[in-house]
């Protein structure tokens, strides 16, 4: 792989010149499954990783069990799991099990749901995942830096009955800001970035390395689990010559459908499961292109067809529907309704009373405090004791939240402890029965989501652009 890698650098440089740091990767096997079902021991510690590919300078990272991303945590639907996290960092940490409906004390928000895990200490997360699907875990303490240095991994909760595909593949996508020496650039918490699109990086890795190609076989049906573990980078993925069918969003099965314009819009923290019937030609390569940011399109990897003849003549006839998860359906007739308005940031137009997007010649965020707010209130940081809930719901109530993005920026809004059904976007019904835990909002979007407040506790709702979360785009909702 090393010799091959060297020849790849120049070509990739040409393709990516001006867009991002040119990096390459060599193939790498998936982390192996633990011997004990539903039992894991994961150590958070500094280490080094070959983000740029073997034969290139290594990068100092913070990692779970020494790999970036951390080991895939395989759990089984409805079966209790225990995951011990040992902190060998030089600072406090916690782990958030993103998208998994679990007891509040296992949610991993420092101060709010548990005391932080101090250096040298351990914490056991005990949970029983009710839903099958693609989830992920990541640090929720000093999260801008800890996630930005690598503390994240995927959780796969397996269906009780296996889904009919030839291969089940996971692409954990992460975005890094690297210097020319492949170090992680300093400058976490830049205030200008906090008030704009956050710390978008310059090197995107697939399962921990910049990817040149991923091997596929003609005729096979792949379930591809996409996880966007980036701090801030939004992705819009197109698969040249292929027609991915979305079968689940944020781990929750939806009606199978092709994305609008063939583009998979994947905000930070979102997951999309697609089914791909590999109908390309043996021996050919097809690029996977991310063209979300205007003028900064690049290719993430290539689907590299082997020379073997097609596995089958026609695409598999098996249905694409995944078995539904047991999320309770909200009762929209009796549901209580609330509005949460996202405010602030650059070009905010002064929409916030007392702390407008521009004020007194400066702007929100430039003074070292909050850059954003929800309903006029800015909660900053990663979670702490005494966060007053913005709303309190009686347990079992159906709730409709109208999320209004008054800002000029995109926000992937994540709600802890629940999945919500996305009802409407800008008054238009959202089709395909989409349940999510993170909904991506374009500037000025209004999105209505609904859920049953059936999980008691104080739950965070925040933007998953980490710079936005820590500078005010966060609130707490209580289920009492």
């Amino acid at each position: 792989m090393n010799t091959e890698s060297n020849t790849r650098v120049s070509r990739r440089s040409l393709l990516q010149a001006g867009a991002s740091l040119a990096l390459i990767r060599a193939l790498r096997s998936r982390p192996v499954r633990a011997d004990v079902p539903n039992g894991y021991r994961i150590v958070a510690a500094p280490t080094r990783a070959s983000l740029a590919g073997l034969g290139n300078p290594q990068t100092e990272v913070w990692a779970y069990n020494g790999t970036v991303p951390g080991p895939v945590v395989h759990l089984r639907q409805g079966e209790p799991a225990r995951i011990v996290i040992e902190n060998r960092l030089e600072q406090d940490t916690t782990v958030h099990w993103h998208g998994i409906r679990l007891p509040n004390a296992m949610d991993g928000v420092p101060g709010l749901t548990q005391p932080p895990i101090k250096p040298g200490e351990s914490f056991t997360y005990a949970l029983t995942p009710p839903d099958a699907g693609s989830f992920w875990y990541h640090s929720h303490a000093n999260s801008l830096e800890q996630l930005g240095r690598g503390l994240a991994g995927a959780v796969v909760v397996e269906e009780r009955v296996p889904v009919a595909v030839d291969r089940d593949i996971l692409w954990f996508l992460a975005d890094w800001r690297l210097t020319s020496e492949a170090h992680i650039a300093s400058g976490f918490g830049n205030q200008m970035e906090a008030a704009m699109s956050g710390r978008v990086g310059n090197a995107v890795t697939l399962n921990g390395m910049v990817s040149e190609e991923e091997p596929v076989r003609a005729g096979e049906r792949i379930r591809l689990r996409l996880v966007n573990g980036s701090l801030a980078r939004i992705m819009a993925l197109r698969f040249e010559g292929h027609r991915p069918v979305i079968v689940a969003i944020d781990g929750q099965p939806c009606e199978p459908h092709e994305p609008e314009g063939g583009r998979l819009l994947l905000g930070p923290a979102m997951r999309i499961d697609v089914v791909l019937d590999m109908q390309g030609e043996p021996g050919r390569r097809y690029r996977v292109i991310d063209d979300f940011y205007d003028g900064l399109s690049y290719w993430l990897t290539q689907l590299a067809y082997g020379e073997k003849p097609p596995l089958r003549r026609h695409p598999l006839d098996a249905p694409l529907n995944l078995p539904r998860n047991p999320s309770p359906d909200p009762d929209l007739v009796t549901a209580e309704r609330h509005e949460l308005t996202l405010q602030g940031g650059m070009m905010g137009g002064g929409t916030m009373i007392g702390m407008g997007g521009m004020m007194g010649g400066g702007m929100m965020g430039m003074g070292g405090g909050a850059a954003w707010a929800i309903n006029g209130m800015s909660m900053i940081g990663d979670g702490h004791a005494g966060m007053e809930p913005a709303l309190t719901f009686q347990r079992g109530r159906s709730v409709v939240l109208s999320l209004r993005n008054q800002t000029a920026w995109w926000h992937p809004m994540h709600f802890h402890g629940h999945s919500f059904r996305v009802l409407t976007r800008n008054s238009a019904p959202v089709p395909h029965r989409q349940w999510q835990d993170t909904v991506l909002m374009a500037p000025r979007d209004t999105v209505e989501v609904a859920f049953v407040a059936d999980n008691p506790g104080d739950w965070m709702l925040h933007c998953h652009v980490m710079d936005h979360q820590v500078s005010g785009l966060m609130t707490v909702l209580r289920v009492a």
Binding site: G18, L21, E193, S197, Y293, D294, M346, G362
Partner: protein
């Protein structure tokens, strides 16, 4: 190729290609791909006879910091003219003053996005203070006010 070499390349290119008198002054403006007020600033400079090349980038923080602009003094975009960095919504008269005086500094910045500044919406509510920045770590000094 990395950012440093690319940036050095641009600076060198601009420095050695002294334009003839009638030709417009060439500027390269780096901006966040999702920020629209930077486009309005570019249009403002073009209207004033500059030739502005706009380059979207997600590396704005790195570019401005390497050019000598301290984090707390950043504008929302970073421009290079004749080897100088000009950060934020600096009025054109002050840009011209910099280019004719040719001081021994890295460049100038108008921090933040002041209401009513060129390219920004709203009314001017206060004096714009433009700071001179250097690469030697010295504190920025006031270069001009308007």
């Amino acid at each position: 190729m990395n950012r440093t070499t690319r940036l050095a390349g641009f600076v060198a290119l601009v420095a050695f290609s002294t334009p003839a008198i009638a030709e417009p002054i060439h500027a390269i403006l780096y901006k966040n791909p999702q920020c629209s007020c930077c486009e309005k600033y570019a249009a403002y400079l073009r209207h004033n006879g500059f030739d502005v090349e706009v380059k979207p980038t997600n590396d704005l923080a790195e570019i401005s910091s390497k050019a000598g602009v301290p984090e707390r003094m950043e504008g929302c975009h970073t421009m290079f003219i004749n080897g100088y960095v000009i950060d934020g919504h600096v009025p054109v008269d002050i840009v011209r003053k910099l280019l004719s005086e040719k001081p021994a500094i890295a460049g100038i910045t108008l921090p933040g996005m002041p209401s009513g500044s060129p390219g920004m919406v709203g009314a001017k509510t206060e004096k714009f203070v433009i700071y001179a920045v250097t690469k030697d770590g010295n504190a920025p000094t006031v270069y001009a006010a308007e």
